[in-house]
């Protein structure tokens, strides 16, 4: 046994690793973190169903009432259609923005420290967390899609649009969950995190085009909305989720903004994640 182990575990630092091997190892480490998340959801899926309640309430209660207000949806788009893409983005946001609390939880337990002592680069651990949040968000998105279909929203089910929506939801939740992780690295306690999470959610949600068009906003709020990544996520989702949906900024611009912000946040989070081990 000892002999085969010596062969299997060469001193990695003394062996020149090929670039391909390095990329493969990195991908394995990112995937490992996300796979554990999927396994957890599989063992305890109740959370997925309780999370479905909020979008139902928004669409049924808020949506039905607001649909009566003239001018709240742009052009001749039905308000419930307009809203459903916003609620899709919102439910993904709510899952992602509190995702950092799981890192605090893992730190309190000691699980996080164990990961930090592994050879996996911090950036791989952080990217794994972002991917985990995307997995959660996609399960949430499935529920909103089904709900929208039930409410007779004009949902576009063409494969190209679905793949596009999956990509937008994946990147969007990676973005906000990484933002959440950065906050977790700063505050480090659940109590402080919950307070800040609540404070952040509302402005991100309301200073966006999720439930009303930017054209209804006063100029200063419209400016805030233009630097809010959620606006670009909603814009892309309107084009991808709805039949005949259009994007104000163009899908390429939406994607570029979301990916660039996500990469920037991932770089910051990778730097800060080490602080969770202190």
């Amino acid at each position: 046994m000892a002999r085969s182990d010596a062969r299997a575990a060469p001193n990695a630092s003394t062996v020149e690793r090929s670039l391909g091997q390095a990329v493969y190892d990195y991908a394995t480490q990112v995937f490992a973190v996300a796979a554990a998340e999927v396994q957890k959801l599989y063992h305890d899926p109740i959370e997925l169903f309780t999370r479905a309640i909020q979008p139902v309430l928004w669409l049924l209660l808020f949506g039905e009432v607001m649909a009566q207000v003239r001018g709240v949806s742009p052009g001749n788009v039905r308000y419930l259609d307009f809203l459903s893409a916003g609620i899709l983005a919102q439910s993904v946001l709510f899952v992602a923005i509190f995702y950092g609390i799981s890192a605090i939880w893992e730190r309190d337990l000691g699980v996080l420290q164990r990961h930090l002592v592994s050879p996996a680069p911090r950036s791989a651990l952080v990217a794994g967390k972002a991917l985990s949040a995307s997995v959660r968000a996609l399960s949430q998105a499935l529920i909103v899609y089904l709900l929208a279909l039930l409410l007779n929203v004009g949902v576009d089910l063409s494969p190209f649009k679905i793949v596009g929506a999956i990509a937008v939801i994946g990147v969007g939740s990676a973005l906000f969950s990484t933002f959440s992780l950065i906050i977790a690295c700063i505050v480090k306690t659940r109590e402080r995190f919950m307070g800040i999470g609540q404070v952040l959610t509302m402005p991100i949600f309301f200073a966006s085009n999720a439930i009303y068009p930017l054209s209804l906003m006063p100029a200063w709020l419209r400016m805030v909305s233009h630097v809010n990544p959620l606006t670009y996520q909603v814009d892309a989702l309107r084009a991808l989720m709805l039949v005949g949906g259009t994007s104000d900024y163009g899908l390429a611009a939406d994607f570029a903004v979301l990916v660039a912000v996500t990469l920037g946040l991932l770089a910051i989070a990778a730097k800060m994640y080490a602080r969770m081990g202190y």
Partner: protein
């Protein structure tokens, strides 16, 4: 290997210091540990044992000084250090919402165990830890002793040369403690793994450790074989006597800390370690 860091010792700690604001948690520690040694760290709560281990495992950067572990500097090449060590934290570090097998799989992937060897190594490690039959149960349903054995098994998948165990037997019943120690001895005997162990159970430190260091107020106040330390105190002395003689009285008389200092120290410990 870092060519500049030549040392014949498996662990070579040089003037290692860590401050938290005004508090000096670890104060100029020098220590060497040899291959295959089981080295015990003892000392009162808050003496700096955990902070020392966090620096050695690269979780916490030192304020000054460094340590060379298997030829790698913890300050300059932390990633190389991490490839060569395993760490079982004081806290429960296995994930309760995953099964034992899933925990092992996660570790194997993070530690870069080659894909074609994962299943076999996990199977072997679980069998060795006596957990094969419960591999597919959620760890949340394991007993304390089973969780510890799993955590140690998780650390062994990549065959670390040095293993850090921070109070591995805390909160375990005597028979579970015995099993954990046999797991530790098994590693030393079969793989010459070097181990740094902290514990408050002087009897097991006495029984299982080759050498020990006593830490008080962030400094090492004594190093040696358990027998050497005991004979210094008296013919029939136990390690408990050594502990009380060297640490107990000092802790009481030498530094009367104010409530504010203690509160700051505890808060620093909670937030930083």
């Amino acid at each position: 290997m870092d060519a500049s860091q030549s040392t014949t010792h498996t662990i070579d700690i040089r003037d290692l210091t860590r401050r938290f604001g005004d508090l000096i948690a670890v104060n100029g520690v020098n220590l060497t540990v040899e291959r295959g040694e089981i080295f015990g760290l003892i000392g009162p709560n808050g003496a700096g044992k955990s902070t020392l281990i966090k620096m050695l495992t690269t979780l916490l950067p030192p304020s000054s000084g460094t340590a060379i572990i298997v030829g790698h500097d913890i300050v300059h090449s932390p990633a190389a250090v991490r490839r060569n060590i395993g760490y079982v934290p004081q806290l429960l570090s296995a994930d309760g919402s995953l099964t034992g097998y899933e925990n092992m799989l996660l570790s194997a992937r993070l530690y870069g165990v080659p894909r074609n060897e994962r299943a076999e190594r996990i199977e072997r490690a679980l069998t060795r830890a006596g957990l094969r039959d419960s591999a597919h149960h959620l760890v949340g349903h394991y007993s304390g002793g089973m969780i510890r054995r799993l955590e140690i098994a998780q650390c062994l998948l990549h065959r670390p040369k040095v293993l850090f165990l921070d109070e591995p037997t805390v909160g375990l019943d005597p028979s579970a403690r015995e099993t954990v120690w046999h797991q530790i001895l098994d590693l030393r005997d079969n793989f010459q793994t070097t181990m740094i162990v902290t514990s408050h159970h002087m009897d097991e430190i006495d029984q299982f450790c080759d050498r020990i260091a006593l830490i008080t107020h962030g400094r090492i106040s004594a190093v040696g074989k358990p027998d050497e330390l005991k004979t210094q105190i008296g013919p029939d002395a136990t390690l408990d006597d050594v502990f009380i003689k060297l640490i107990g009285t000092q802790g009481e008389t030498e530094t009367e800390k104010s409530y504010g200092e203690i509160r700051r120290a505890r808060r620093a410990e909670r937030e930083h370690g």
